[in-house]
């Protein structure tokens, strides 16, 4: 195998762009060395994508504050596989192969991923070959793509021994909408609207990541008020989904009282967002150069009122949760993800933090306004459903404090910076969505339009861990495990 190449050694002396990323072309040997470095745990794989005739690999080393994008020129699409060294890259490489025909040399799993053999002009494919799991007494339970609730489509193939799940294989890609191909050639404003719909539950985070990538590419300066408002919106989004998911997990354990309370609280957040920013999910409110909605003095009062109610509800929910052994019986030691797996997959968000991985872009690679809020990254170590739920409740508490601080710094001023002249350029950004880090890389052409854009959802590195979490649990606990992850289908399928 190739010897691992340390990111810090490879970067030696190269300077980072305005977006914090060091960009450099690599040869095949360095490419494989960096991939082996991911496998050895010396840095994290952040994203892997195809852009024209090159493959790009984004890498993070949070301990040393380093970020880099390595680009390798492919030979008619062929390049040395990263997945051969580092398992988390396998699905990314399969997806790029389906979308762009790239050929990862040495990748063992060459099954299609997003391409289900249904796209016009691509021809039929043989039936998808699920990996075999054989043994006496094993049976399979196929579920989906249309699930029994109001959720996104995906297929789960459980192999069970009686009630115990011995293996879960996910098959995704059902909601693939061709996001990258739609953005290529689109004006920045159009692409921003598309990015905001990659995953509706993280619309603020995605729009923010895209806006930052474009702003860095063009040197577009954003007014301070807009930066603070982006922070307020992102935290409202985080609180809404955390509180909703806490309720949903309790609902799956049949504790309807908590579910009802959480649902009312979530509705309170969305209604306040609508009143203050004009849209319940705040879609299209973060735009390149700033924000599209200002917060009025009355709005500030409404948000403050919401924060007070949220803090109260959160405390009460925690109190009730901790007083119910029947509920904890379902969550404690259920769906455990090991610290080792979380590290290997560089799992973002509460999935990583519940298994001890102290990574949160707001602190690890802090961006404005979080560079000025002294965020403590809160972790747990159990890695079970209970830990993921508690991390979310911790984060709601933190978000309340963050929004209060941001509001107190809000000074009058413009909310959108003047657009710089059209220019080509590259930019990339990491933003912490409620689910974890989202990464967006943008390359602008000479006409100012998007030449290529790539977005990577936190789910890419969380979905495989759900497979691991479920192993050894009973089938009936799958909904709890699944809700405690709440991975995005749309964000993953793109």
């Amino acid at each position: 195998m190739t010897a691992p190449l340390l990111l810090s050694v490879w970067l030696g002396g190269r300077s980072a762009g305005p977006d914090g990323y060091v960009r450099a072309a690599v040869d095949a040997a360095a490419w494989e060395g960096l991939a082996a470095g991911c496998a050895a745990g010396s840095h994290d794989l952040s994203a892997l994508w195809a852009d024209g005739d090159r493959m790009c690999m984004a890498l993070n080393d949070a301990d040393r504050g380093l970020r880099a994008i390595a680009a390798l020129a492919t030979e008619q699409g062929a390049y040395p596989s990263v997945g051969r060294h580092h398992a988390p890259a396998v699905r990314l490489e399969r997806a790029m192969r389906d979308l762009y025909g790239t050929r990862p040399l040495g990748l063992a799993d060459m099954r299609p991923w997003l391409d289900h053999g249904r796209w016009p002009g691509r021809g039929d494919r043989p039936a998808y070959a699920f990996l075999p799991a054989e043994g006496e007494g094993l049976h399979q339970i196929p579920v989906g793509p249309v699930h029994a609730g109001i959720i996104e489509p995906g297929h789960f193939r459980f192999t069970a021994n009686g009630e115990t799940v011995v293996r879960l294989e996910e098959r995704l890609g059902y909601v693939h909408k061709g996001v990258e191909s739609l953005m290529a050639g689109a004006p920045v404003e159009t692409a921003a609207r598309i990015v905001g719909r990659i995953s509706g539950d993280s619309t603020v985070a995605y729009a923010w990541a895209f806006a930052r990538a474009v702003e860095m590419a063009l040197g577009w300066s954003v007014p301070p008020r807009a930066i603070l408002l982006r922070g307020v919106m992102a935290e409202l989004e985080r609180m809404a989904h955390h509180i909703g998911d806490v309720g949903a997990i309790c609902n799956d354990a049949s504790v309807l009282a908590i579910h009802a309370q959480c649902a009312v609280q979530r509705e309170d957040v969305l209604a306040t967002s609508a009143a203050c920013f004009g849209h319940r999910l705040m879609m299209d409110r973060v735009v390149p150069g700033g924000v599209a909605a200002d917060l009025s003095a009355e709005g500030i009062g409404q948000v403050r009122g919401l924060l007070r109610r949220l803090a109260e509800t959160r405390a009460e929910i925690l109190r009730v949760y901790e007083s119910m052994p029947s509920l904890q019986d379902r969550t404690v030691t259920t769906g455990i993800v090991s610290a080792e797996l979380v590290r290997q997959y560089a799992a973002g968000g509460f999935v990583g933090r519940a298994s001890g991985r102290a990574f949160d872009v707001r602190g690890s690679f802090a961006y404005a306004p979080y560079d000025d809020v002294a965020l403590a990254i809160r972790t747990r170590t159990a890695g079970d459903v209970d830990a993921r739920l508690l991390v979310r409740l911790d984060e709601i508490e933190d978000s309340v404090a963050i929004v209060e601080r941001l509001l107190s710094r809000l000074a009058p001023g413009p909310v959108r910076g003047e657009r710089p002249p059209v220019a080509e350029g590259e930019g990339a950004a990491l933003v912490e969505a409620f689910r974890g880090d989202v990464f967006v890389a943008v390359r602008l052409g000479v006409d100012g339009r998007v030449a290529h854009a790539h977005a990577r959802d936190a789910s890419w590195f969380q979905w495989p861990l759900l497979e691991a979490a479920v192993e050894g649990n009973i089938v009936a606990d799958f909904p709890l495990c699944n809700k405690s992850f709440n991975c995005s289908y749309s964000g993953h399928d793109l």
């Binding site: 289900h116 249904r118 959720i151 909601v175 693939h176 159009t190 509706g200 009802a260 509705e267 009730v320």
Partner: protein, 174 residues
């Protein structure tokens, strides 16, 4: 828990007042009914939701229909787990090629008489995803649609108005 119980007793109802059914939706549904004679479904409808390619924004708002604020079960509107139990298919998203067959099979599994509701701009006209090679097109190109509820995503109250129109329509003259 005590706080929950105290709130439940003292704070009063969480629900919002019932809105009037949407006028435009009412017309559209009445027209759909007039074209196809159907037995009356009565004042309750079972709904099967199908995500055929949405960004999950619509799902978040459809979920909200069941929360204690909108609480659509009080109108007899109920979300069910199987298309076999459904009167209404509520479809979101620009229909992707990868979901087309699953959507058609779900439609076929829904017993007649059945209604199809397109929820969200994507289902209505593909929204921002129009022109993508990975999608088949708007819902109406694939299934007969009886009601469109536009919006990105439509707020829950708009969906309630549309669904109430579905329930009101059977008592209109046909």
């Amino acid at each position: 828990m005590r706080t929950f119980l105290r709130d439940a007793l003292l704070k009063g109802k969480a629900t919002v007042a019932a809105p009037a059914p949407d006028g435009v939706a009412l017309e559209e549904v009445a027209r759909a009914l007039a074209e196809r004679a159907r037995r009356r479904l009565g004042r309750s409808l079972s709904i099967r939701e199908v995500d055929a390619g949405s960004c999950n924004g619509c799902e978040l708002e459809i979920h909200a229909l069941n929360n204690p604020v909108y609480d659509v079960e009080r109108f007899g509107l109920k979300f069910v787990a199987s298309p076999r139990h459904a009167d209404v298919l509520m479809v979101t998203g620009p229909v992707t090629w990868n979901m087309r067959e699953a959507l058609l099979r779900t439609y076929d599994a829904t017993p007649a008489p059945k209604w199809v509701v397109a929820v969200g701009d994507c289902a209505v006209d593909c929204g921002v995803f129009a022109g993508s090679p990975a999608i088949v097109g708007r819902l109406a190109d694939i299934l007969p649609v009886d009601l469109h509820v536009g919006g990105c995503p439509p707020p829950p109250i708009e969906m309630v108005k549309g669904l109430l129109a579905l329930m009101e329509a059977p008592v209109l003259p046909r």
